[in-house]
Subunit: 361 residues, 2 copies
DNA sequence: CTGTTAGCGCCTTCAT
DNA sequence: ATGAAGGCGCTAACAG
C-alpha cells in the first residue's frame, strides 16, 4: 500500500538507518546523501508512519483537548484555537467531550493515555484529581478554566474574581443597588470566584449582601429561567441582573421576553463570556469577556513548554490568570435618572417602572 | 512505565501469544486460562497499547471528522454526536477544522491518513476530489452535508431542495409575493440546492423570479448584512426574507436592528438550520431545520457499515438524504391582512408600513 | 559518516 | 490448546 522507509532506502541503495537519519534530519549524514534521500523520498511519495515511529519513541504527535461540551461559546473558540496552534506544529488535536461528568472524564482520560497522547489540556470536573495526578507522571497536562484542587498541575484560569468584580462595579456605578446574581455551581472554581468578586464589589460600595438576590446553579439555560423568575417575583425585585453563568443567559432572556420586560429600560442585564450573537442582539448585550482565545493560547504555550522540558514533572508548576475585560454595549442603563434616550431611535415603549413587578405569564 | 502484555504473560506463566489470544478473545484458548488471564490482566492494570496493535493490524481506532468550523451550529451538534457515537464503540474522534479552505483540507487529509485513521467523515470543500478519491482506496470515507462531485463517495446530505421549498412555500402561503433570498455560494451543493428549492416554490405559485431579490454569498455574517441592505434599499423591497445561509443570519438581524425594522410586523424572517438561541430570541425565529443530529447519526451509521465491510471499495455507494422540517415560530406573519395582535401582549410600536424604506444609519 | 543489530508491544503463522 | 519465532515501520545504540 504505502511506501515505507525501506523502499526509500532500497531505491537510494543505502541502509534504512541511513535513510532514517537523513530524513529525520539529525545532521548525522553527509549533506549529499541527505539531500539525495530527501529527493528520492519525495519522488516516491514517502510518508513516515507515525504509528511505527510512536511505537519506538513513545510519542504519538497527538494532543488531546478535553472540554465539557461545544455549546459553550468559550469552548468553541478554545477548540478552534488549540487545533490551529497544534496543527501548525505538526500535532493533531484529539477533541473529547466530557459532559462535565466525572465518569466520562475518567473513561476518556484512560483512553487518551492508551493512545499515548503527547500532551493534554483539560477542563477538569474536579472529581478525578487522583487519576489526573497519576497521569501527569506520564504526560504533560495543563488544566484550563477550572482548577483541580486535588492536584498540583499547571493551570490556566480566567480571572473570575476580577471579572465578576468589574461587572458588578459597573452596575453599581450605574446606580444599581439591588443586583441579582445568577452564577455557577459553588463546587466549581469559577462559580465560587465569580460570587466572591460580586460580593467584594458590593462590600466596597457599602451595599449589604442579600442572599435572596443570589442564585447558584448548574450550567444550563434552565438555571437562568428558574432563577430569573424567582428574582423577578421578589417583592423588591432587582433593577439589574448579572448573569455570571454563561449557559444560563438564554434562560434569562426567555423569561424577560415572556414577561415583556424591556432591556435595559425595565431591567439592566450584564452577562459573562462573549458569544457572537450578543453583539448582534438587540439591544446589544454588555458582557464581561473572559478572554477565551487568550486562555487557549496560554494553555497551549504552557503545554508546549512542558512538552519540551520533558521529564521534570512538577518542577515549576504555576497557576496563570488571564485578565477579564468589561465590554459595555447596550443592555445596562443608568438608574436614578430618567431613562436616557436611545441614540439612533426613539422607540419608547411600555412600562418604565424602575423594576418590573411580577407579571402573569 | 505501563504494564505490557509480556508482564501479564510472565505473571500468568504463559507465553505472550497465549496471553494475546486470551485477551483478544479469539476463543483459541481454554476457558480456564482465558479467564485466568483476564483476571490477572485486570489485577495488573494491563491496558493494551493501541500503537503497537496498530502497527501490526494497520488500524488505529481513530476516526476523523473534518468540518469547516465550530461556529456553525450544525457542525457543533455533528461533532458532539459523532464523538458520542464513536466513543461508545471504542473509537476516538479526531476533530479537524478545515476552514472551508482547500489547502487546509488537503493538508489535513494527508496528516490523517498518516495517522492511519480507520474512517473519515468529511464535509468536503469540493476542491480536493482527486485526493479524496485516492484516499478512499485505503480508508472508508463518508461525505457529509456537501457532495464532492469529482468523487463517487458515499454521501449523506440534507434535503436542501425540499427544505428551501418548504420554507419558501410557507412564506408564500402567508401571502408574501416578494421574498428575498440570501443563500450560500453557488459553487456548493447546498447553495445551489437551496436556490433551486426557492425557485421551484415560486414557480409553482406562479410568482415570477426576480433576480434582484436573490443574493448568494460566502458563509459569513457580513454576507447577511450586505445582502439585507441591498434588499431593503430596493424601490420595492421584499416583505419577507428567507435567510438560507445559516451564518448570514446574524448579519441580517443587525441590519434590521440598525434600521429599526420590526419583525415580523415590518418584515417576515425565516432562517435555515436551528441554533439554540433562535428559540429564545424575541421574536422566536422560525426556521427550516436541516436535521443536523440525524445527518450526523446517519453518517456514522454509513461509515461503520463501510468499516465493517472492509475492502470492497465503491461497492454499493449511495447518496442519502435526511429530510428537512419547517419549524414555525414567531418571525413570520401573514400579509394582506392587518398585523395579527401578538398573543401575550400588545406592545405595538413604530412603523407598520409593509416594508421599511431605506433609512439612514 | 554509514551499515548492522536490536528491539518498541503486539499479533499471527507455524509447529508442537 | 499452547510456545516459539518472525515481523509490522521505525529509531537508536553499537560497530566499523
Amino acid at each position: 500500500m504505502s511506501v515505507t522507509l525501506k523502499d526509500v532506502a532500497q531505491a537510494a541503495r543505502v541502509s534504512v538507518s541511513t535513510a532514517s537519519r537523513a530524513l529525520t534530519g539529525t545532521g548525522l549524514t553527509s549533506d549529499r546523501t541527505q539531500q539525495r534521500l530527501v529527493r528520492i523520498a519525495r519522488e516516491l511519495g514517502y510518508r513516515p508512519n507515525p504509528i511505527a515511529r510512536g511505537l519506538k519513541t513513545g510519542q504519538s504527535r497527538l494532543v488531546a483537548l478535553l472540554v465539557h461540551n461545544l455549546t459553550n461559546a468559550s469552548f468553541q473558540v478554545m477548540a478552534e484555537v488549540v487545533q490551529a496552534r497544534l496543527k501548525a506544529l505538526g500535532y493533531q488535536m484529539l477533541l473529547c467531550i466530557g459532559g462535565d461528568d466525572p465518569q466520562q472524564e475518567s473513561d476518556t482520560l484512560t483512553t487518551l493515555v492508551d493512545h499515548r497522547i503527547d500532551g493534554l489540556i483539560v477542563v477538569p470536573t474536579g472529581k478525578n484529581g487522583a487519576q489526573l495526578k497519576t497521569l501527569a507522571k506520564d504526560v504533560p497536562i495543563v488544566c484550563l478554566v477550572r482548577r483541580d484542587d486535588a492536584t498540583d498541575l499547571e493551570t490556566v484560569l480566567a480571572d473570575d474574581p476580577q471579572g465578576a468584580y468589574l461587572g458588578t462595579r459597573h452596575l453599581i456605578e450605574l446606580g444599581h443597588k439591588r443586583i441579582g446574581l445568577i452564577v455557577g455551581r459553588q463546587d466549581t472554581t469559577s462559580g465560587r470566584e465569580r460570587l466572591s468578586g460580586y460580593v467584594r464589589a458590593l462590600r466596597e460600595a457599602g451595599i449589604a449582601r442579600d442572599d435572596t438576590l443570589i442564585h447558584a446553579g448548574h450550567y444550563v439555560p434552565e438555571t437562568g429561567a428558574t432563577s430569573a423568575r424567582k428574582l423577578l417575583d421578589l417583592s423588591r425585585p432587582p433593577s439589574a441582573i448579572f448573569v455570571a453563568n454563561h449557559e444560563a443567559t438564554l434562560g434569562v432572556l426567555r423569561v424577560t421576553a415572556e414577561r415583556n420586560i424591556a432591556i435595559p429600560d425595565d431591567l439592566s442585564l450584564l452577562c459573562y463570556e462573549d458569544m457572537p450573537w450578543f453583539e448582534w442582539h438587540r439591544p446589544a448585550i454588555s458582557i464581561v469577556d473572559n478572554g477565551a482565545r487568550d486562555l487557549a493560547n496560554l494553555a497551549v504555550d504552557r503545554l508546549l513548554h512542558r512538552m519540551d522540558a520533558k521529564g521534570n514533572g512538577s518542577e515549576g508548576v504555576r497557576e496563570y490568570r488571564v485578565g477579564a475585560r468589561l465590554i459595555k454595549r447596550d443592555s445596562c442603563r443608568q438608574v436614578d435618572t430618567p431613562a436616557p434616550a436611545r441614540s439612533t431611535k426613539s422607540k419608547s415603549s411600555s412600562s418604565k417602572t424602575s423594576a418590573a413587578k411580577s407579571a402573569k405569564v
